[in-house]
Amino acid sequence: MENDYELIKLFQDGDKASFDRLVRRHLSNTVGFFYTITRDKMASEDLAQDVFFKLYKSLKKFKFQSAFSTYLYRTNLNTANSWFTRNKWKKLLHLDQILNQQTNDQSVEKEWLNKELWDAISKLPKKQRSVVIMRIAEGLSYKEISVVTGMSEGTAKVNFHHALNRLKGVLNYE
């Protein structure tokens, strides 16, 4: 079975099927990543479409200087950040509908907390938000986050710490 680099090399040489194999390999992780953020299956699949569409166009110029996973994480992060920006106003409009929901069921309550958390994350500054997304949705270490975002490990830690303090305030956590 070919590794990511071999599949990309084949794709660059004109083998379109190798791109499909690459998509199949990383699809569930990518959709899962976006589902953690959006809690919406349709939206997460659409965002995954955006990611693989971008990859289709950019992989022809891939220089094999970093791991494909890093490249994919970066694309995921950029797409997620764009989604947060796009949905700023949309979320404000939906806010009333969410507040009217009755939360007797435990799973609904959990979902509600998740939504609140991601609403709060979406309001963080971009650097802090990026670190939080990578840490929570991808489960990356600070070292991996530093490779993906281009900031140092220390900066990633500091940003995460500041983000947590902000989130505590917004979510009224004691």
Partner: protein, 128 residues
């Protein structure tokens, strides 16, 4: 790692089932649409550029110079030697000849006027 951090990191991650074949079909149709759009854009740009080029070059029309409507050699009119002029005086009508004679008289060329009128009379006789 404090309690809040632990809670946040425990945020529920559910496995989402995605129909891969359907996903790939959608992806490929999107890629195809993008390619078609790019081709349409390229052809439209080429047509627009051609039209722009033809408009700028006036569709190959000759370059008409407006300044050809006036005579640049005004000095020639004053330097004209009426005695050696290479045009047939009979081509001009009588009023034009009288105007020339009148102009010569005003300038004081009396004898030249007489000579002109005389010569014209001779030429008329010859042509007859």
């Amino acid at each position: 790692m404090n309690e809040f951090e632990k809670n946040i990191l425990m945020v529920s991650k559910e496995e989402v089932h995605t129909n891969t074949d359907e996903f790939l079909t959608k992806l490929h149709s999107r890629i195809q649409v993008s390619k078609t759009n790019r081709q349409t854009l390229f052809v439209s740009s080429a047509i627009a550029f051609t039209f722009l080029f033809l408009i700028i070059t006036q569709f190959g029309a000759p370059d008409i110079q407006v300044d050809s409507f006036y005579d640049e050699d005004i000095e020639m009119l004053f330097e004209t030697d009426f005695w050696t002029i290479k045009s047939d005086s009979l081509d001009h009508d009588s009023s034009y000849t009288y105007d020339i004679a009148y102009f010569l008289l005003q300038e004081g060329y009396v004898w030249d006027t007489i000579e002109l009128l005389d010569e014209l009379g001779i030429e008329k006789e010859i042509s007859l």
